[in-house]
Amino acid sequence: MDLSVTIPGGLHPLALRNPVLTASGTFGYGVEFEPYGDLTALGGIVVKGLSLKPRLGNPMPRVAETPCGMLNAVGLQNDGVECFINEKLPRLPWRELPVIANIYACDPGEFGELAAVLAAEEGVAALEVNISCPNVKEGGILFGQDARQAARVTEAVKMRAGAKPVIVKLSPNVTDIVTMARAVEDAGADMLSCINTLSGMGVDIRTRRPLLANVIGGLSGPAIKPVALRCVWQVSRAVSIPVIGIGGIASAEDVLEFILVGAHAVQVGTANFMRPDFAFRLVDELNELCDRMGITDWDAFRGSLKA
């Protein structure tokens, strides 16, 4: 079937060739995966989180494998937004697929500044606001756990984002994700993506050390899929803006599950580490699965869960 989908986003909807995007932090700047597939076959790319100035990130070890998942505490290491604009973006086929910039800052003012820099870039299709990173001390998840703070950040980005749709990425590490979703919707968010990683940790009883130097990190992978589905289900029923589902997607069936509970599109994250051509193959598998199941219209299938 024709897998294309349009995510409504105010004046500037996002037109995707298919609903499969790659999640921030799991697909580099996209160019790393060029040897393994045709980037333009994807629905879109969400690049590694960008900050105004370069960030060194957290000490090692930063990643650990866990049953059906992994923990990470990378701490937003990146070369800064200028480097992205000058060195990475020109190498991406942004005329042919949406490149979404994931942004992180320590305060609303800086978020606004970062949004203004990226708003001027033709190659950036949308901004994804990271208010939910559990791995940095300042900002990050603090914004994502407080509805008023989340709204302030959303407003700051919206004000400087020009015509770019603003996606706010929600944290599952909250008492009530619906409250957060409504707060950022009211503050002007065009879309939501959920979920970011779940706060977690791992230890080694022999060395008596934590698996991550940061001790606490974010859990991702198939282990968190049921939590992610629940969040997308709750949020998509509570808000009128579109939702992009993220969390443990590892098959075409998983993609349909997220769309069934209300997502317009999905982001594939940890599964990209299973093999570097994972996302490319997923698009093909989704196509075959839709044909097999007789799914011909996303609008009819989306949110059609009989509950």
Binding site: E65, F273, M274, R275
Partner: protein
């Protein structure tokens, strides 16, 4: 520079080494030869059996031991749940492999070259001594804890002058470190080249000695990797002020894409 791709390869066989030591913990895994253009010793592959379900998501990184017209060989030691499961592979099983990844060891045919291997760190040197155009200019010192039969040492000693040093008691470790010091001093004097691969404490020692004696030395780092292609940022190491790109000096670079081979003076093991 080179092309990488993710391919599905069949296992040809899995040969345990050192069975006499009781539980077999070392294996040579022989796979069908992938359709690669070129590769160079020191590069690595990411490998994940097709039969792994979702309980273990990551592939595992391995130095390329050897590539022939017929096969790709890697050599591994069982150290955790991933390698334990790899040891259960059978001929005919399918594995997903991507590579060759990363950079490679310096090859300077006319420079006296000393290979320093610690334990399983011997693996990439098998390819190195077979590809080197003048093996008479290459020497090896091999430090190990398990009996020699656990390692593919014969395929090295068939080609070059190689000495072994087994660590049987704590005093042997200091003897080995002293030996490394005198060998590296010797190669410093002949303006030679030193290449090292082994566990991180071993590489730290080699690095310190390299800086002390002023001998050009490359280290092959070993670390956890989730992707092998530069995306996960889980394998970074710290660079010194000597790193060639000033923008990355005294910063962090990915071991998978900037390495796994590094000049000893361009990185540091001091984590901060």
């Amino acid at each position: 520079m080179h092309t990488s791709a993710c391919t599905e390869l069949k296992v040809l066989d899995l040969v345990p080494f050192g069975l006499t030591s009781g539980e077999a913990r070392f294996y040579a895994l022989r796979l069908e030869r992938p359709d690669w253009g070129t590769w160079a010793p020191g590069q690595f592959v990411m490998l994940r059996p097709a039969g792994w379900a979702l309980d273990m998501l990551w592939a595992r990184p391995f130095s390329i031991c050897r590539v022939s017209r017929r096969d790709l060989v890697i050599f591994f030691q069982v150290v955790g749940r991933g390698t334990r499961r790899l040891a259960e592979l059978h001929a005919g099983d399918t594995v997903h492999v991507w590579g060759p990844l990363g950079n490679s060891f310096a090859v300077e045919p006319d420079t006296p070259t000393l290979l320093l291997a610690g334990g399983i760190g011997i693996a990439p040197f098998i390819g190195y001594v077979h590809e080197h155009p003048k093996p008479w200019n290459v020497w090896m010192d091999f430090g190990h804890r398990m009996p020699l039969g656990c390692y593919p040492f014969d395929s090295i000693s068939d080609r070059i002058m190689a000495d072994t040093h087994m660590e049987e008691c704590p005093e042997d470790l200091q003897k080995f470190i002293d030996l490394l010091g005198s060998r590296m001093a010797e190669f410093a004097e002949k303006q030679g080249l030193v290449l090292a691969c082994g566990p991180t404490p071993f590489l730290k020692t080699v690095r310190d000695l390299a800086l002390h004696h002023g001998v050009r030395t490359q280290l092959s780092l070993e670390t956890r990797m989730a992707c092998g292609v530069g995306a996960c940022l889980g394998c970074v190491c710290r660079t010194t002020e000597k790193w060639p790109d000033p923008a990355k000096a005294e910063g962090r670079v990915q071991t998978c894409t900037s390495g796994p081979i590094f000049w000893a003076d361009q990185i540091t093991f001091d984590e901060a």
